[in-house]
Amino acid sequence: MIEIKNVNKVFYQGNKAINALSDINLTIEQGTIFGVIGSSGAGKSTLIRCVNLLERPTSGQVIVDGVDLTALSEQELTQTRRKIGMIFQHFNLLSSRTVFNNVALPLELAGVAKNKIKSKVEDLLELVGLADKRDVYPANLSGGQKQRVAIARALASDPKVLLCDEATSALDPATTISILELLRKINEELNLTILLITHEMAVVKGICQEVAIIGDGKLVENGTVGDIFAHPKTDLARDFIRSTLDLSIPADYEARLHATRTENSYPLIRLEFTGASVDAPVISHVAREFDIDISILSSNMDYVGGVKFGLMLAEFIGPEACANKAIQYLKEQKIELEVLGYVI
């Protein structure tokens, strides 16, 4: 549905050239929810804006539904954009129009008859669950409601593709989940292809089937979400995965942490389970086999695409020799392991 071929984008700051995107190639199939993740300044916003040519690529092609957008005239592009919906981080609703009239705008632009606009808009407001807010102005809506209006507006011209530019980044976690649910629903009901960009791995994990990771204007890694979570090949991918399950040491433990082992102190260990780790009940096994007690301090395990992964902080309580053997065994099971120090 969307093909991005050899896309480059260069910005000039005075005489200095900045490569915002270098040689990006991506194919997004009809009906998928595709996530692009990257940190601020990685170029992901530029990338999504290149898809409907809000930003014109310096070179390369953008093909949406078989049409090469970069080859179109300004008028043809205007027409084609009506089949590509877009929602934004800051919603971009017109403050001067009611909810109803905001959703009606794309239809007015396309010259649709008044009575048709009315029934279409009412259907869309029903779909996003805001039928009772039709005559309210955006200033009186919550962030989540505004994004729902924006989604209804983006769907008004029956697009084939929906672009989401950090659509949940200005929303609180609970609202983010409800908006993602809505996106999944329209993806299923309308068989809409969704391309979303985000800096939150949780969003990708929540609804995407495929993901691309970009860093520094380059495509670092892409594949199905399960694959990327199971076998991240690059450090950047690993960092993003870890960011979804960040575990920090509680402050009072931190204070009791020493670099060397003394009498009555036990190692505090961070275990990282990845797709490569052996899928077995290793914790209870280790405790039984090596005669140590394992006290789990905190843990954040997740299951995506058939793979268990996650982080765990645990104390290995027992004689030094036993703990060392346990550590050795866990390493053999391909669990990444780090001794953070010794807690008295």
């Binding site: 409907n52 809000l54 205007t78 027409q79 084609t80 954009r81 009506r82 590509i84 919906g85 877009m86 934004f88 800051h90 971009n92 017109l94 403050s95 001067s96 129009r97 705008l105 794309p106 007015e108 632009l109 396309a110 102005y137 955006p138 200033a139 507006r153 011209s157 672009l163």
Partner: protein, 228 residues
């Protein structure tokens, strides 16, 4: 002053009252005619200034520069000088260089660049994301102007209209220089030159009330259309 005293003053000064009513009418004609023509030209000019800017919707830096210079020239000439300097133009347009109609020409020309800059400022307040959203929806440039920019900037534009009308009330006081009449002229000739403090006070009070009314009406309209 008791009620009777007002009545007495009123009957004794019918000529002065007639003069005040006539000059109020002249002021209103000057302010609203020049304001109306000024908006008709100044608002599109302001829109053009905004659109032709670098990274604007219809970027054209050379047009923008030329318009900018012309507007700045218009804004930098003191109105009293503009009034006199434009006498040949006025004579060409209205056939005479004296009278209320003659004063409307320089007032209009003085108002246009003023309005243009204010409207440009009002348009600048519209978040660029809205224009972008409209572009993404497949809006043509004219549609963006009509359905996004102008409606979103409407509170700012009404504010600009209010400020302009109030400024024009002030400028119209100088119209006496070319025999344009109006309240300001009465204030100068009867109040100042003839040392008639009563007339001076009356004209000032009428002007204050006029300005208050324009401002209140403007504020009220802004409140009604502003949903931000």
């Amino acid at each position: 002053m008791s009620f009777n005293a007002v009545i007495t003053w009123w009957t004794e000064n019918t000529r002065l009252i007639e003069l005040l009513v006539d000059s109020l009418w002249e002021t209103l004609v000057m302010v609203f005619t020049s304001g109306f023509i000024g908006f008709a030209v100044g608002i599109p000019l302001g829109v053009l200034l905004h659109l032709s800017k670098k990274n604007g919707l219809l970027e054209n830096t050379s047009i923008n520069k030329i318009l900018g210079i012309v507007v700045n020239i218009g804004r930098s000439i003191p109105f009293i000088i503009l009034l006199v300097a434009l006498i040949p133009v006025t004579r060409f347009i209205v056939g005479s260089s004296i009278g209320t109609a003659a004063a409307i020409v320089p007032l209009t020309i003085g108002a246009i660049p003023f309005i243009a800059r204010l409207v440009e400022g009002a348009l600048l307040e519209v978040p660029s994301g809205l224009v972008e959203a409209a572009q993404a929806m497949g809006a043509k440039p004219m549609q963006i102007i009509k359905k996004v920019l102008l409606p979103e900037a409407l509170p700012g534009i009404i504010n600009a209209v209010t400020i302009t009308l109030v400024t024009l009330v002030g400028y119209s006081a100088m119209a006496g220089t070319v025999g344009g009449g109006g309240l300001g002229d009465v204030g100068i000739r009867y109040g100042y030159q003839r040392f008639d403090a009563t007339v001076m006070m009356i004209t000032i009070v009428i002007l204050v009330i006029l300005v208050q009314m324009i401002q209140s009406l403007g504020d009220h309209l802004v409140k009604r259309v502003d949903h931000r």
